[in-house]
């Protein structure tokens, strides 16, 4: 597989370490989070395999293109619009989480409006870029940010205050029946692959995808989930861990760089996870923008000879996200994102039926062409 494919998966996984996923997991720490995680790794890897296989069969073609060819208009337009909304919400969750985080820990005096505005403005510009440029940006920013995130993980694992006994205790709860909320939030980590709906445009060459790649993805995701769930427990203890709102922030604040200019690792963590969050929102909203382009034929809208079509969604995105962030509080955000994740575990496996449908239609179309 092209290396850009892994970025899509990786970012969705890593971005959610800071978002509500660990909070949901730790909230259910006694009611089957561990078994849900194991189940999610299996289910997620299977989903990734199916989705990737499907898109490899159609190199360089996006999902809306495929749907346009195979389905009728009454289905196509509302469905793509629904997808656009969904991706918007996915980006919005990350955005809201990070705005709250920055207010809590970095600049408490700043209005929420201002902090979310800067994130929105910086991302919106990127959403209009061409798809391949989005991927180049992802690669560059990952290159800067990722070594530091690995450093944080290294610091966490090598720290003396990490009590493995707590971790072992937590692991004992594996015999509980898998919790649905924990499962859905873990499952969400694997959904980076669905960005191929649009990003498949970039992968014009035929890729090969075999068990080696699947193992690699499974390994990375297991490692990531393990770190996400067990490291906060190792630092903060097992009892009452469900009370923490931002378990990873608390964890990273217990790490120190004794001899560096910046002593508290929290700030490194925050500022560089901002990069990951930035990329995550960028990917989601870029996909959302592209879906909207398909639904409304935005490329064709002109005003006095200028193509203004692609700028039309911008005010809606800014307005809607500012409005929603203003209304939400952290508790509601946690609950709604939990609800959002829950719907996804139904939705994306169901889409596979649609894929089978598309595949058969495309096969017929091909055969007819040959005849």
């Amino acid at each position: 597989m092209s290396r850009y494919y892994y970025y899509l998966i990786l970012i969705n996984m890593v971005a959610n370490v800071i978002a509500s996923v660990p909070a949901i997991l730790l909230h259910n720490h006694k009611n089957g989070s561990v078994s849900a995680m194991i189940l999610a790794v299996v289910a997620g890897t299977i989903l990734i395999t199916i989705y990737t296989r499907f898109f490899i069969a159609f190199p360089g073609i996006t999902l809306p293109d495929l749907l346009k060819k195979t389905t009728s208009k009454w289905f196509y337009n509302p469905f793509i619009f629904f997808l656009a909304l969904m991706w918007f919400v996915a980006g919005l969750i990350t955005l809201a989480t990070f705005s709250f985080l920055l207010i809590r820990f970095l600049t408490p005096e700043m209005p929420l409006f201002q902090i979310s505005l800067i994130i929105i403005l910086s991302v919106i510009f990127g959403c209009l870029m061409r798809t391949e440029r989005v991927l180049y940006t992802i690669e560059l920013i990952l290159l800067i940010v990722f070594p530091l995130i690995l450093y944080i993980f290294f610091k966490a694992y090598s720290n003396e205050s990490l009590e493995w006994d707590f971790v072992k205790e937590a692991a004992l709860y594996v015999n509980q029946f898998p919790n649905i909320h924990s499962f859905s939030s873990c499952f969400f980590l694997f959904l980076g692959v669905v960005n191929l709906f649009i990003f498949n445009r970039f992968f014009t060459k035929k890729q090969n995808f075999n068990w080696k790649h699947i193992t690699l993805i499974g390994f990375i995701s297991t490692l990531n989930l393990f770190t996400t769930y067990f490291i906060p427990i190792g630092f903060n203890g097992f009892e009452n861990i469900d009370e923490l709102v931002y378990p990873w922030i608390t964890t990273s604040d217990s790490l120190r760089m004794e001899f560096f200019m910046i002593e508290r690792l929290l700030f490194v963590f925050l500022l560089f996870y901002l990069g990951i969050a930035f990329l995550s929102i960028l990917i989601h909203w870029h996909v959302s923008f592209e879906f909207l382009k398909f639904v409304f034929n935005l490329e064709k809208i002109k005003f006095k000879g200028f193509k203004i079509g692609k700028y039309i969604p911008i005010p809606f995105f800014i307005g809607a996200s500012l409005l929603l962030i203003g209304k939400l509080n952290e508790y509601q955000l946690l609950r709604y994102s939990n609800f959002f994740y829950d719907t996804l575990i139904l939705f994306f496996p169901l889409l596979i039926i649609l894929f089978i449908f598309i595949k058969r239609r495309m096969k017929y179309a091909k055969q007819e062409k040959q005849n």
Partner: protein, 447 residues
Amino acid sequence: MSSLETINWINEQFKNTNELVQKNLEYENKHILLFYIKSLINSEMLQKLIIKPFFEMSSEEQFNLYLQALPQFQEVQSKEQVHLEIMNGNILIVIQNEFYLLDFKLAKNDKVNSTSVETTIHGSQLALSDNLMTNINVIRSNYHQASLSVEYFVKGEVNQHKVAVIYDKEKVKNDVLDIIRKRLQKVDKQLITSTTQLGNLINDSRFSLFPQMIMTERPDRIVYNLAGGKVILLVDGNPQSIATPVVFFDFMTTMEDNYHTLFISLFLKILRYAGLFLSLLLPALYVGVTSFTPELFRTELALTVAGSRVGVPFSSFIEVLFMLFFMELLLEASIRLPKAVSATATTVGGLILGTAVTEASLASNIMVIIVSAVAISTFVIPVNEMAFSIRVVRLLLIIITSVFGLAGLVLGFFVLIMYLVNLDSFGETYLKIYTLSKNRKTTEEKT
């Protein structure tokens, strides 16, 4: 065309100048007519190659053949060509109703300069000259390939400067060449006086912050770029060339990188990138840390910074802008000033102003250190044009940081990366990670 008519036409064209010389030579039933502009031609050569043989040869036939055998000989196609070539230092000879042009141009600007903008320790110390033909000669004698092609254009409606487009036919990307040709046709400026000006005219994005062509005066760099498949543009009367398409990493390499051993050049490269990041981020980081998040640094450092700001009446934002403003003034002044005075300017500006400002507690000591560190690290960026861009971007980052804090700085930096990725230089992505692959495109300089 009849000779009399043409001669009249030429006289008509040049009636507004008194520099056109018309010379009638007659000797032993030989007869020629010479037209030239006295100040443009080499009269010594004229005497040696035309006038002397004229009086020595026995017949007009023989002299005619002799003229055609001269290396400076040029066939006449049209009247307009005659007009143009006379302006370019040719001599028009009329013999037996035939028109010949001979290139006797006198060029006093063909001395090769020594490098002044891109100085290096290793490698050639010679740059280009002001003369186009000398420059092409320099390039050709450094790049021995039959596929090296030169195309000439005449640009600038008033001053009619010659522009040369040089490329290696086997390595260049044809679509880049097409874009350049097309955009060169569109240029309709009255005066073209410099290569970089021409570069700005053929770039479509006028409002771009970053240079989309790289300016160089070093023949080795030109050759390096040619071998990498780039197109070189030269303008007559200009000791600089521009190369295109470029990627961001081109601006961060010097020719010396290839002349050092691997580890030395790696070290220098790291130093250079560190300088780039420092000069971009340091002032904005100072604003972010002192005004928004003082707890970012370890306690001792935070206290030192706060302690040095005791008594400074401004917010950090004003302090930084105030000091940077004077630094930029100093930089500009030292470019414009005569060499003899510029040393005084640096002393007054750097030493006296620096100490006086802290003593008057208009800026903290740490601020002075930061400003000087920033100034020095800006000079580490090897290509001047990039340094200018960085100076502007730095200001933007300071403004963003002073409104949005450290998060603004980080996001602003990401937006900068995104902006660079989104830029195009003649169809080439400006910034992306290049990896080695088998069918690698040859256009990028970076290896």
